[in-house]
Subunit: 109 residues, 2 copies
DNA sequence: TTCCCATAACGCAATATTACGATATAAGGA
DNA sequence: TCCTTATATCGTAATATTGCGTTATGGGAA
């Protein structure tokens, strides 16, 4: 159906799924990397950097904002985007926790 | 279009996007958590544990296998699934690298 | 005011995803 | 052999995502 039965899963699982969406498209990875690299927040240099149209990029930015991992500040005619520290750290924790839960096994597979 | 222009992005970005897909649906998070918790590989206890139908679960398992993060070993009439260590560690590295690239800023936003 | 710039919103088209029931398939046990 | 159990596959329906052109919108500059 394309519809995810979120209500049937645990909060934490849904949260991780949501946060993972920030990284599940190469354009969004590229946007986040750009934000990480340019300590100063950016506006639409992205249009010059990414091989996508302005409207598509705006949409990805919107999605990242919905997820909460970035925020945008209107500054005159432009918008400055940057990583939302709190959410970023939260994502870091959740992913770290997940990844470190793995313990090597004797060889079941 | 629903089609992602992967060819226009860098390999690393596409790789991360692919790996993120392993975590971008609560059912897949739940499956991975189950695999982490039960050191012994499992088959379809998942059908009892998850609120989804057998066919839907099989589909998620297939997707996780495509991504490469789990592998399945046929054992008689059952299939034992488990985390693929190599891919798991690779994902861990990529995400860790991404998350630790963030440096707190003076207050641009 | 009028014109441009950066962004956002709208609407469309194409494709992908999620979910499930129903039907295979394959191996082990009765 | 026939039945059961565990998985996989198929087909279908509903919804989501991706991408873009086009059109707003809002502010600054001329």
């Amino acid at each position: 159906m394309g519809i995810t039965k979120s209500e049937l899963f645990k909060k934490r699982q849904n949260k991780m799924a949501t946060l993972a969406k920030a990284f599940d498209h190469p354009a969004r990875v590229a946007i986040l990397e750009h934000l990480l690299a340019h300590q100063t927040c950016i506006c639409n240099d992205l249009v010059d950097v990414l091989p996508l149209s302005q409207s598509t990029i705006t949409q990805h930015l919107k999605e990242l904002k919905n997820i909460g991992i970035i925020k945008g500040e209107i500054e005159g005619p432009k918008v400055n985007y940057c990583i939302d520290e709190k959410v970023w750290e939260e994502a870091k924790d959740i992913f770290l926790n997940m990844f470190t839960r793995y313990v090597k096994q004797n060889d079941c597979c």
